[in-house]
């Protein structure tokens, strides 16, 4: 039934001469234009909030750059295989298309898996604000660093022994805990990325990397001395609110792409036998979407991880 109706609408498959497009491709470009505005709004919000942040309040170096880089490569690979699969279809080679798309799906799922590992790491990574600030000298993440931004720092940040995700001070008290043992990070986020890199280089040349070991010593803090405790979740800070909102929205797009590709690869593949050209167009249009999702990540990665 839908078949006969679709034929009544021109340019579903063939290209209109004066525009050089078929309907679906134009529709996707328009959709992507709106997506640019959507992410544009969020990126602008990021810029706006970051410019307005108080000095020393924008965290640095809390995201895992090697894993982020690896994930970027995974996503770029998937973009490549989408393009290759479309080329294969254009040449009439369904089997090759299938192989490439399986790689695409594997990359996409892999991306989400790596991302959820990163997320979980943040959910169990805590910042603890103390009622009495620590002097820079006794602070594990700042010790020995001349360029520390403040003489005193009110918080310690790291993994907490035996504490799961999303705990708060109230929930820990409710559970009957009286103190926590935190393993502070090597650096405090109040050091800028540049200061952290400087310090890493200095340590590497002088001590051969022994600083890492001391940073893993646990620090036991009584709950009564804690002013606030938060995992690295949206509630923690504006930076993490931005990070989770942007990457989660991006992850939703990735998931949408996975659904579309999987549908076209299995139940939707019947169309290949009846209308190969239309099927190829669908891959092209979905591919456009995928490249866009990829592109968003290429902007997200440096903005959130590196800057």
């Amino acid at each position: 039934m839908s078949h006969s109706q679709h034929e009544a609408i021109p340019y579903t498959t063939e290209v209109r001469e004066d525009t050089g497009l078929y309907n679906g491709k134009l529709g996707m470009w328009l959709f992507l234009a709106s997506e640019v505005m959507l992410f544009g709004g969020l990126f602008s919000a990021y810029v706006f909030l970051r410019l307005g942040a108080r000095p020393g309040e924008w965290p640095h170096g809390l995201l895992n750059i090697p894993i982020g880089t690896f994930n970027t490569l995974v996503l770029i690979t998937s973009s490549l295989t989408v393009a290759m699969s479309w080329t294969a279809l254009k040449l009439g080679d369904f089997q090759t298309y299938r192989k490439y798309q399986l790689v695409t799906l594997a990359c996409a799922v892999g991306f989400l898996a790596i991302k959820s590992f990163e997320y979980y790491d943040k959910f169990t990574h805590y910042e603890v604000w103390l009622k009495a600030p620590l002097a820079a000298g006794e602070h594990p993440g700042l010790a020995g660093h001349a360029a520390a931004p403040d003489a005193e720092v009110p918080s310690v940040i790291g993994h907490v022994e035996g504490v799961g995700p999303f705990e708060t001070l109230a929930s820990l008290e409710e559970a009957g805990a009286t103190s926590i043992t935190i393993h502070p990070d090597k650096y405090h986020y109040r050091l800028t990325a540049w200061q952290q890199a400087e310090r890493t280089m200095k340590e590497a040349s002088m001590e051969g990397g022994s600083a890492g070991a001391e940073a893993h010593e646990g620090l036991t803090i009584e709950l009564s001395k804690i002013a606030r405790l938060s995992a690295l979740v949206p509630r923690h800070s504006t930076f993490f609110a931005c990070y989770f909102t942007l990457t989660a929205l991006h992850a939703l797009h990735v998931a949408g792409g996975i659904v579309a590709f999987a549908w076209l690869l299995w139940p939707g593949a019947r169309m290949w036998r009846e209308e190969p050209e239309r099927y190829t167009n669908r891959i092209e249009v979905t591919g456009l979407f995928w490249h866009f999702v990829d592109l968003v990540w290429i902007f997200l990665f440096p903005t959130l991880y590196l800057l």
Partner: protein
Amino acid sequence: MSSETHELGFLRKYVFSLDHKVIGIQYGITSLSFVFVGLVLMMLMRWQIANPGEAVPIVGGLLEGVMGVPAAEGKISPDLYNMFGAMHGTIMIFLGIVPLVFGAFGNYLVPLQIGAPDMAFPKLNMFSYHLYLWGGLVMLASFLAPGGPAQAGWTSYPPLTTIIPTDGQTYWIIAMVIIITSSLLGSINVITTVIQLRAPGMTWGRLPFFVWTEFVTAFLLLLSFPPLESGAILQFVDRIFGASFFMPHDLIVSGTPMADVSGGGSPLLWQHLFWFLGHPEVYVLVLAPMGIVTEIFANNIRKPIWGYPAMVGSILTIGFLSMVVWAHHMFMTGMGSNISMFFQTTTTVISIPSVIVMTCLLLSLWGGSIRFTVPMLFAITFLPMFGIGGLTGIPMAFNSTDTVLHDSYYIIGHFHYLVAPGTLFAVFGGIYYWFPKATGRHMSVKLGHAHFWGSLVCMNLIFFPMLVQGLAGMGRRMSDGGANYSLANPSNEGVVGALSSTIMGLNVLIAWSVVALALFQLPFIFNFFYSIVAGEKVENDNPWGATTLEWQTPTPPPHGNFAEPVVVYRKAYDYSLHFKALHAQEAPEWGSVAHLPDFEPQNLPVSAETVGAPE
């Protein structure tokens, strides 16, 4: 071709239809219902303003039953007033007018006017209607949420939205995200349809003006709605996950520090994201009505629209400029003089293309043989009403005057003149005009006149006093209608600027005019449903004698629209030209369009002209 006319079941035909005309009518009926809800809210508010502190008659008990504490004793408390205010704005704009002018008229007419069999993506079209419906239902459901619906205005400014602990605001955000998604899909569909599905010969210069307006509207929705969607997402994260995108450091409300929900954010960020949509949205509300008015004009003055290219150029300019004027809604935030200079300039510049469109329409009347049909009455009234709305907006374009007027009733009067007797009148005109095509029957002229004159008088009695009240200094958000600041309040004795009894008395005038306005909608509602079944049948497929393609179809147009493939040979408004040629030889009777056409349909081959008018 769908030559095999298999019967579709009720669900497929009316609920999950893929036919753009059915979807258009679905949009129309749904959005008119929402306009009705908005009207009822407005009536309640106006009644309470005129009678502060008194229980609402008749429905007071019902209100208390539904809304609970905020409507205790059947009175509209300040909280309930805020809820109604927020929901009146939201419903009227996002669920009423926009789906009406874009979803209903756009869906029904655009494919017909460009000679296309349907929209480019019928399934997407169906999906966007259903998204809109569900978004609307979520919005209505918020009335039943514990603590009531959103109460921070249709603009949902953050410190307020975050401080109010009830769930209504969360419903509002979710509903908005659904509605925005629906609009986005709809706009993709309209743009693709206009670009790809124009019939052979339908060049850009031959597009009916209405199609141009929908085309620009679609671009506005496509590009300006997503930033609001991102704002809504951020507000959602704020409310659900405890982030603080919009809450500044060290916020203290009524002496209570807001440290739990506050820090690191900026309320201004929301205002920017909101008004980046908000201003283009204003043009979403008026462009398509301009198009409707133009179609009705061309048909009822029986001559080509004067200055068609200038009008098209103007609305394209409006489209571009409307993206760079948003911060004139934010003069009150105390922005720096450089920024405010930029936005004052763009705001004044954007009035030029609007004036060009209005001027072209006005000049088109010159030398026309005007038929004062019911649609034409509405369309011609659009000009002065929109004119008042537009001209009263000019003081708002300047920071210095805006600062004084912004929070007064003056601004309420200003934008309601644009939207109520402006946009809504164009919409009514459009309904009377295209009703015969959609149903095969005319609406009653007598009832149409009652509807028109009654609405015209009442709308002016409602909105003009608001301009006066605003200039007298009445604030725009007071649930008691300013009674607290009036001379009637003993503590204000001798206070310069306290509201006089004349100004306060206008509240009563407005309230009764609102009642009358509602009564004058009854002829329309009756006319609409009665005429579907028992209206006078149309004598042919083109009862108004129109040139555009929607009238060259069977009545009502079947699935697939056109009986045979369409080819377009002419501009959109070829009225009178042919007639003039004939007129040179004989003097035919004016108005007898049935046997002597004074128009040439767009799909009439040019060669036929010589048959009709031998030179």
